[in-house]
Amino acid sequence: MTGVYGLFSTPELAQEAVDGLRASGVPDHEITIQSSEPLEEYAFGSRDRDTLMPWIAVLGAAIGMATGYFLTSITQQAWPISTGGMPIVTNWSNLIIIFELTMLGAVFASVITLMFSARLPRRLPKFYDREISNGKILIGVADPKEIDRVEHALRESSGGVRKMELQR
């Protein structure tokens, strides 16, 4: 299994390479793009934008809210403590705990969604080049069906193509 890729100095060149790969018949999901900064103002950097994260955060908030409500009210009913003439289940003051756990639920849900959808943590895949940290943008295809066409498309934009043996 061979990975073929090019390293590009500017986002414009990287966009050209992606366009070239698409034109040569490589589907979007097979094109690997890696950079040391987000490049969302370019078409290649703005793919995979659809996410359910806001809804999952709302769900997390709802779970947090329910946890807060049941934690406080069930505890107060199970171990009734009379405090300053207040009722046993004090919803006014419980709102504080419910609020904090609601927010915590939303925060945790966002982080868990990030971890799952961005596939973190993971081992650094072989298809990676340290040059990315020097500002280069990696555009490539792992295990292309037609290596020559991919190499040609990348060479047209970058002038340099690298190959990497990837483990199966």
């Binding site: 490049l39 994260m53 004090t90 705990i97 939303a106 925060v107 982080v111 959808s117």
Partner: protein
């Protein structure tokens, strides 16, 4: 952004992480010594009991509680300001956010330590954690101290995540540029980050979601800290404005602390190119707005108390206006209002030095404010026969001083292991259209665009 600019930015911001000078070791050792003295004093206090402090009838909350409220207030600088600036997409925020978020994380840790320090038997602190114990005692959810536990821990956890997530791409950058133990260490911290468009987008979405959640959390934290006081029927505490009053004071002191820290980081790590006058100018404007709001709340608090004219409240009020605590009160007014007002309003005076001087004044003034909220009210609680005074003793002063050394030490160590300015966010700021927007903002701030 050209490759050369990108590399020079990365090199500049990674330099403090990858290069270590003798000054670093000397400073670390000195600060560690002071922190050790603080811990030693705490053990002394545990061994001999709280009687070694100045806490005594009727003032059982002295310097330790003042420090608790003070540090929790300082923590408001970071995550809250960073979250607001992130949501309004202020382009000038980029070099400031991480500097600020670090303050939140460490100030919260230090602040949360003070209630433990103030416990006679700190090893029983876990009784606050809600779980059914063998004695069938669960925490009383009506107690403001349990609210504190939930609020502070929620804010601490959220702030740590808010700080850690955007650091992942920077860890990956260090991983790729180092060998040996650093490569292994930052490799683990970077969690296998590659920088695919999907990862970048998910990271930014998560940061946005968290920013939205963190703003109300931050506001709730200091409101709940204010409830520690306002839920008690103690002169000048039982007030409906304490929530917003504390929040404003916290943001005020937080911005001041951020200005001081940024000025030190700028000089010590040679980051003059990145932490520019515009950052101090903009934070100075925010601080000025907070100074005015703070003055408004102080006026409200005191006018209503004076108008009510109840004897025990008047005793507490006059002790701060003309009595025993008046020198502290008037110093506070000078530090929080009289000093910053001209320094931050008169254009000719506005500079990094002036902003830092005003900020130092505000930090001192806000510490005094916390002291003046707690101590005079407790001194004049109840009937006159039980009135009394409070003077801190050396264990409290040593622990108080060492908390500042702890903050400096933690900050120093953090900046040694993690770039204090987010590298990838700075790179985004260098993108052509964002750079133009930043230049327009800077021109507006300088009054060059009308």
């Amino acid at each position: 952004m050209t490759r050369r600019t990108s590399n020079s930015l990365t090199d500049d911001l990674l330099r403090p992480v990858l290069e270590t000078s003798t000054k670093f070791y000397v400073t670390t050792a000195l600060l560690a010594l002071i922190v050790a003295a603080g811990f030693g004093t705490w053990f002394y206090q545990i061994y001999f009991g709280l009687g070694v402090t100045g806490d005594n009838w009727p003032v059982f909350w002295g310097l330790h509680e003042t420090n608790f409220v003070f540090w929790i207030g300082i923590s408001h600088a970071g995550t809250l300001i960073s979250a607001i600036l992130r949501i309004v997409n202020a382009t000038w925020r980029r070099p400031v956010t991480r500097c600020a978020e670090v303050i939140t994380a460490f100030a919260l840790m230090i602040g949360a330590l003070f209630p433990l320090i103030h416990l006679g038997r700190p090893w029983l602190a876990w009784w606050l954690i809600p779980y059914p114990s063998e004695r069938l005692l669960w925490p009383n959810y009506r107690s403001p101290l349990v609210w504190d536990f939930f609020a502070i821990n929620t804010y601490l956890l959220s702030s740590l995540l808010f700080l850690a997530l955007p650091a992942i791409p920077d860890f990956a950058l260090i991983r790729d540029r180092t060998t040996g133990w650093r490569n292994w260490f930052y490799g683990k911290l970077s969690l296998g980050w590659q920088g695919t468009p999907k990862q970048w987008h998910r990271l930014e979405s998560a940061m946005h979601m968290m920013a939205l959640a963190i703003i109300p959390i931050a506001i709730s934290v200091h409101t709940i800290v204010s409830f520690d006081f306002s839920m008690a029927v103690v002169p000048m505490w039982h007030s409906t404005i304490f929530g917003p009053y504390f929040v404003v004071g916290a943001i005020f002191s937080g911005i001041a602390a951020l200005n001081i820290v940024m000025a030190i980081v700028r000089k010590a790590l040679h980051l003059e190119k990145y932490l520019q006058p515009i950052h101090f100018r903009n934070l100075g404007k925010l601080m000025l707005a907070m100074s005015l709001l703070w003055g408004y709340f102080v006026f409200n608090e005191r006018l209503v108390t004076w108008y009510g004219n109840t004897p025990h409240e008047m005793a507490a009020l006059w002790s701060t206006q003309m009595g025993r605590y008046s020198p502290l009160f008037w110093t506070m007014i000078v530090c929080n209002f009289v000093l910053p007002f001209p320094l931050l309003t008169i254009r000719k005076l506005r500079s990094i030095t002036a902003t830092v001087i005003a900020s130092c004044g505000v930090v001192v003034g806000m510490w005094l404010e916390r002291f003046l909220i707690i101590v005079p009210s407790l001194s004049y609680k109840g009937t006159p026969y039980s009135w009394g005074a409070y003077l801190p003793r050396w264990p409290e002063i040593v622990i108080f001083s060492s908390s500042f050394a702890a903050m400096a030490l933690l900050y120093l160590l953090f900046s040694k292991f993690i770039p204090i300015i987010s590298i990838w966010e700075m790179k985004v700021g260098e993108h052509p259209h964002i750079k133009v927007a930043a230049e327009v903002q800077e021109a507006e701030a300088a009054g060059e665009l009308i």
